[in-house]
Amino acid sequence: MSEEHPSLSFLRAERMPHILCEGCGNGIVVNAMLEAMVELELDMEKVVFVSGIGCSSRIPGYLKFDSLHTTHGRPIAFATGIKLANPELEVIVITGDGDMASIGGNHFLHAARRNMDMLVICSNNYNYGMTGGQVSPTTPVGWKTTTSPYGNPEPPMDIARVASAAGANYVARWSTASPLQIKQAVKKALQKEGFRLVEVLTQCPTVFGRRNRLRTAVEMLRWYRENTVALHHAEELERQGVDLSAKVVVGEFADRNNPGLVRRLGLVKEERKPEKREERAEKRAEEDERLREARRRILEAIERLSTPRVRRMIELGMDVEKIEEELLK
């Protein structure tokens, strides 16, 4: 039996095949994100994707949502306008390391500082994949790209720590080797207000890995698994004097509850509180009960007022609509 892929209903099937390479990590990002959205039962009509230029920025073009595919580096600025103009919308920016940390660095910093309400998912693949693998602000020292053929001489930017220092409400970094954590981070982020960043270290075997002895997605994922250290472990290890400079620290870098700009501007009144799964289920059950009750009362009323023929139909267990249909015949 063939089972349908759970993300399929959110994809624009008519646009397949997509432009992403074999082994690209962006598919993992998309699946984790969509799963989080489904589990939260978001109103999908109110979700708007905004993206810039780069591989990950092409993702919204394949999703069945309102989406604005903007200019290089600016999606956060466009998203700011969208969210402030209509705070009801759930604005999700999909961007990459080049788009957000390099050309869009200023917008990124200031949106975090403003605690501007949006979720930013930054797919950090350590290089400019779309243009064939050039050095980016997050390429580690010594790694080779087409524009750092002798090894990158520049220290990289730590996107997550920068966002946290700038004032973001929520910051998490995980790699595609741990999709469950990505999903959990997106879920948590979507239930908060203010600026939220989920940085995902994404494998790019095609133009980055292969220049650095990581030729396949599997090798890259293994590299992530072996070279990432969870934040709480990292703190402990550093206390013990272990050198972690060659490792990547992953985890939650900020989890605050400061008011987002939308609320500071008075555009929404209530604080955004995460609605628990049980609460939602309870609400739904109450709603269902109300409907059943209403239906029962209508049937009673019909029974009281009606002819023997209708009564018989009710006894037969016919629905209100069915009875109406019968009578209109």
Partner: protein, 373 residues
């Protein structure tokens, strides 16, 4: 509470801000820059009063990007700047043209190039308004010459941007922006909003038969619309390597303005009927031109004046007609920008009196120039 009304004594930049409110603008994003800052300052106070949103962004690139986003979220939106900021905005001008986003950009021009003369007037950005972003596209640019027009043409700019789904530039200058004059602000102004397409429609970028402008969509209403600056097909999907799709799209972006030029263009004429010399100008210098025409007429010279209210699309036909009848003298505060347009359409030699440095032409020097012809 809505826009200011009645007879008032206002600064040009403030009249512009009130015009925006009157036109239905409820989102402003900007960045401080002389001599346009008063537009932002005024709207910082006024936007919350009229249920709008004001935000000072981190730069002009972000400002114009934010207003494009705001328009797709359903609010009419504007930004205001001057030369250096206008240069930074060019990237998004092309994006707005490609995505057919109705926005208004106010450029209160100052002396350039570069940071140039922040506090003094010029009109050196007018060709940038038309051609500043890369690739082929058309926009609409208007030129106010009074505080009253800072109000009226801001309203007009919004209406045109909505009608043609195009960025509209209000090309003011430091004089018009900072001058204070009497204005009469009407209780009600005519406004236009781009009509929305049918929900469920898949061809978001296909205009109806007989039209060149597709209907608009707004995010959050179930359209599922994908908007991109890449060459896209009529569904909005990227189709970057298809010469037919690209040609069709870009030709339409240009044609929707150029083929409607007759409906868009506005000029003001004085005594051109029998004129032997016609002064062609726009913005603040047109005020000196009018004074000069009166003086020349008093001195027996048959002078007239053509004022460009719409800079782009350019009133080519009218300029050609006048060139057949009279000598044309172009006055502008740059070293010959609209001059190129006038010459192109006149198809003959045109006289030129430029003025840069931050001073306005005086009527006397215009009269002297004409008398020497």
């Amino acid at each position: 509470m809505s826009h200011l009304t009645g007879v008032r004594f206002l600064q040009g930049n403030i009249a512009c801000a009130e015009g925006a409110i009157a036109a239905g603008c409820r989102f402003f994003a900007g960045y401080p820059i002389t001599p346009s800052t008063e537009v932002a300052e005024w709207l910082a106070k006024r936007m919350p009063e009229v249920g709008g949103v004001f935000i000072q962004m981190e730069d002009e690139i972000a400002s114009v990007s934010a207003i494009v986003g705001a328009r797709w979220a359903g609010r009419k939106a504007m930004t205001a700047t001057s030369g250096p900021g206008f240069s930074l905005m060019m990237e998004t001008v092309g994006y707005a043209a490609m995505t057919e986003t109705p926005i208004v950009i106010v450029d209160v021009q100052r002396g350039g190039p570069s940071t140039g003369q922040p506090t003094l007037p010029a009109t050196g950005d007018v060709l940038q308004a038309r051609f500043g972003s890369h690739g082929d596209y058309s926009i609409i640019a208007l030129s106010p010459n009074s505080v009253q027009e800072m109000f009226d043409l801001t309203v007009e700019a919004f209406n045109l941007s909505e009608r043609y789904r195009v960025p509209v530039m209000l090309m003011a200058d430091e004089i018009v922006g900072h001058m204070r004059e009497k204005v009469v602000l009407p209780e009600e102004v005519e406004t236009f909003t781009a009509p929305l397409s049918r929900r469920g429609s898949k061809y978001h970028f296909r205009p109806a038969k007989g039209s060149l402008v597709p209907r608009m969509q707004v995010f959050g209403r179930g359209y599922g619309v994908h908007v991109t600056g890449l060459t896209h097909d009529e569904r909005g999907y990227p189709a970057t390597a298809d010469p037919v799709i690209h040609t069709k799209l870009v030709r339409r972006l240009v044609d929707k303005i150029e083929k409607n030029a007759g409906r868009i263009i506005k000029v003001e004429e004085h005594l051109t009927e029998d004129a032997e010399v016609v002064l062609v100008s726009y913005g603040a210098p047109s005020r000196s031109a009018l004074a000069a025409v009166r003086e020349l007429r008093a001195g027996g010279i048959k002078a007239g004046m053509l004022r460009l209210i719409t800079l782009f699309p350019f009133p080519c036909r009218r300029v050609k007609e006048l060139a057949e009848q009279a000598e044309l003298v172009v006055l502008e505060m740059n070293l010959g920008q609209m001059l190129r347009e006038v010459e192109r359409c006149a198809r003959r030699q045109v006289h030129f009196l430029p003025k840069i440095g931050g001073e306005l032409h005086t009527p006397e020097e215009v009269v002297r120039f004409v008398k020497k012809l």
